[in-house]
């Protein structure tokens, strides 16, 4: 027995993901950098956890919830692996994804018909371990179903994301990482890590995301004058007149 124990130093044991160490917990959890240093600093393992479900709660589109994942999608591309999007809320506008640097040749989109098919597809995708990153949008998912997805994700190496509405916050969830997304000041995205491995994170992190235009405080700048169609037309530069 002593011979067997001699192979492990205390450090080895402390680095195991199932040893809980308060503030230093999970220093070596396998993770993929989120691309945002401020967020990486708070995420256990220094990034999105691999082989675990990360829940992102957000009610409406347009706050930057996808831009938050783009670095993770691009990381999958560098590994030469596929990204799988399951039941995205709207149609993908391919030119935007291409200019965001996503490799659309390795991006599969699934559009299941029913919630049951959705969960089945998500589970199969996670169990297969074939995808480099999986993102799934589920309007409704019971705690048991989230647990199934977490178990399926735990078998693989891919970071897995589950988008759910904000009301799911009150629901218990098996996902080890849960984030609440909300718009922050000055066009930032506020991220509240209300559940993570290790000590709780009290503060909300505000992330600077690439935005399509400069954020402006003077809300009435462009609309001070009634936007008459004629004025707009004069200012418009024809991009394509065919």
């Amino acid at each position: 027995m002593t011979a067997a124990l001699r192979h492990f130093s205390l450090d080895d044991i402390l680095e195991r993901p199932d040893v809980w160490r308060g503030r230093l917990a999970g220093a070596r959890l396998p993770a993929v950098s989120s691309g945002f240093p401020a967020l990486d600093a708070e995420l256990p393992g220094g990034g999105w956890p691999r082989g675990a479900l990360s829940e992102l709660l957000s009610d409406d589109a347009g706050f930057g919830e996808c831009s938050l994942l783009l670095p993770a999608l691009n990381a999958a591309r560098e590994e030469g692996r596929w990204a799988v999007l399951i039941a995205p809320p709207h149609a993908l506008h391919a030119p935007a994804w291409v200019s965001a640097g996503v490799d659309c040749a390795r991006l599969a989109v699934l559009a299941p018909e029913s919630p049951r098919d959705l969960l089945w597809a998500a589970e199969q995708t996670l169990v297969s371990g074939a995808a480099g990153v999986v993102a799934c949008w589920a309007e409704r998912a019971a705690p048991g179903e989230v647990r199934r997805l977490q178990v399926a994700a735990a078998g693989g190496q891919a970071p897995a994301f589950l988008f759910r509405p904000r009301r799911a916050r009150a629901q218990a969830s098996a996902a080890p990482l849960r984030l609440l997304l909300s718009p922050g000041p000055q066009g930032t995205l506020g991220v509240e890590l209300f559940k993570r491995r290790g000590p709780p994170c009290a503060r909300t992190i505000f992330l600077e995301l690439p935005r399509p235009a400069a954020w402006r405080d003077d809300h009435d700048a462009l609309v001070a004058r009634p936007a008459s169609a004629a004025a707009l037309h004069r200012g418009a530069r024809p991009l394509a007149v065919a």
Partner: protein, 458 residues
């Protein structure tokens, strides 16, 4: 099929099922005698064409065990000498063969020996025999009765007291040839391996199209799976023997009047039975039948030679791409082919036409993007149908007045597309910020003068 039942040819029973045999219906008795022995017996006329079809299906299936198969009237000969190591020994191979035949819905008596005729005789009268060398074979054959030989030879041998093949062979061969004839002596020599006995190989058909008659009409798609599995196992054997893989197979479900064609598409070249069966199951579980099915036919539509591939030494996990192919194939089979896709940018200024859906596998061939050096901002999400926004105090309004942060960007294109859904577009696009801090892509219709929400900068 109701029991007891028996097959009858020219008024004589050929074979009965177990219940019939228990009642005393033995091969060779008359039909009337069979009815007398077992009053409720179902007598069926022998259908040689179906027997042949069944033997051909079995021979195709046997391709997964060995590439050298020959078919006699009711005997399947598999040349296994070269495959023993691959399957881990004769016992394992024999068990695999019996299990495979059972899965195909047949029962077989099986014997292994070093000569084809010896194996056939042993299978008939001493099933389960497994002779690994010439000595085993001699001992096994010696105990068999002379009735295996042609009737006149058997009668001649019985007349002078030789009841088993071993006793017959103890006679001097010249005298034996005189008594039973040259032909019967040659049979004996072939069975004992003293004379070469080449057999014609079964030629695996060029195209695979195998029918299967169902014993009764089936109106439940899931129940078809059992029958369809027999066909997919035969397909797997045929593919293995031809060293080929299939990209597409068609399962035809024949109803009384018409037929349904279920197309099974595979992501990559597929030769493995398990994978064929999985895709088959997903498709059949999703299928609702229009009418009861009376027969099935499986056709291999797109067959290609399998490229050689070196396997890794530690073959635990499949390589990433292959696992992904299998995954996308399963998802496509269950969710529907059009619900699993990739997107590609398409050279069109109209946003709703700038995305094209491609099949998830195969070559990814997008158009060259038409954008100049700095692309204008484009949203990740596009609404399927633009959402009309009201105008309040001269400002577009969505959960509060919107602030226009960038724009306008005029997009005017598609006048030639009048007939199509997209059609002519003249719009001024803006990046707008809502009161709830959502980043929107909205446009103003130049002619109709209305605001529309077209996308989200997510």
């Amino acid at each position: 099929m109701p029991s007891p039942s028996a097959i009858v040819e020219r008024g004589r029973v050929v074979i009965g099922d177990e219940a019939a045999q228990d009642a005393g219906v033995t091969p060779g008795i008359g039909a009337a005698a069979a009815r007398a022995l077992s009053p409720g017996i179902l007598l069926l006329a022998r259908d040689r064409a179906r027997e042949d079809a069944a033997m051909r299906a079995l021979a195709c299936w046997a391709g997964c065990l060995t590439p050298r198969v020959s078919v006699l009237a009711d005997t399947l000969l598999l040349e296994l000498g070269a495959c023993l190591r691959l399957f881990g020994g004769l016992e394992k191979l024999q068990a695999a063969a019996l299990a495979g035949v059972a899965a195909q819905g047949f029962r077989a008596a099986c014997a292994a020996a070093s000569t084809p005729l010896g194996a056939e005789w042993l299978a008939r009268l001493s099933p389960g025999a497994c002779c690994k060398d010439a000595g085993d074979l001699r001992r096994g054959l010696d105990d068999l009765p002379v009735s295996l030989l042609p009737a006149d030879a058997a009668a001649a041998l019985a007349r002078f007291g030789a009841r088993t093949l071993g006793e017959a062979r103890r006679l001097p061969s010249a005298a034996l040839a005189r008594r039973i004839g040259e032909a019967s002596l040659r049979l004996l020599e072939r069975a004992y391996g003293e004379r070469p006995d080449p057999r014609p190989d079964f030629v695996f058909p060029e195209r695979f199209a195998l029918p299967l008659q169902l014993p009764s009409a089936v109106d439940n798609a899931a129940a078809l799976l059992f029958a369809a599995r027999r066909l997919s196992a035969a397909l797997a054997g045929w593919l293995a023997a031809r060293q080929a893989g299939v990209r597409e197979a068609v399962l035809c479900l024949r109803h009384r009047r018409d037929e349904t064609r279920v197309v099974l598409r595979f992501a990559g070249l597929t030769a493995e039975g398990g994978r064929l069966e999985r895709v088959l199951r997903e498709r059949l579980e999703r299928l609702t039948l229009a009418a009861p099915v009376e027969a099935l036919r499986l056709e291999a539509a797109r067959v290609e030679a399998l490229p050689g591939r070196s396997r890794p030494l530690l073959d635990d996990a499949q390589s990433g791409q292959e696992a992904l192919d299998i995954l996308l194939e399963r998802l496509g089979a269950r969710l529907g082919e059009e619900r699993v896709y990739r997107v590609a940018a398409h050279a069109d200024y109209r946003p709703e036409c700038a995305t094209r859906r491609l099949r998830p596998l195969g070559k990814y061939a997008p158009d060259a993007p038409c954008r100049s050096s700095i692309p204008p901002p484009r949203p990740l999400w596009l609404l399927d149908a633009p959402e009309a926004l009201p105008e309040v105090d001269g400002r577009p309004y969505r959960r509060g007045p919107l602030t226009l942060l960038a724009g306008p960007e005029r997009i005017e294109s598609g006048w030639w597309d009048g007939g199509e859904q997209a059609g002519d577009a003249r719009r001024d696009y803006f990046v707008a910020l809502a009161k709830d801090a959502a980043w929107l892509w909205i446009y103003r219709e130049c002619q109709a003068r209305g605001w529309f929400l077209h996308g989200f900068f997510s």
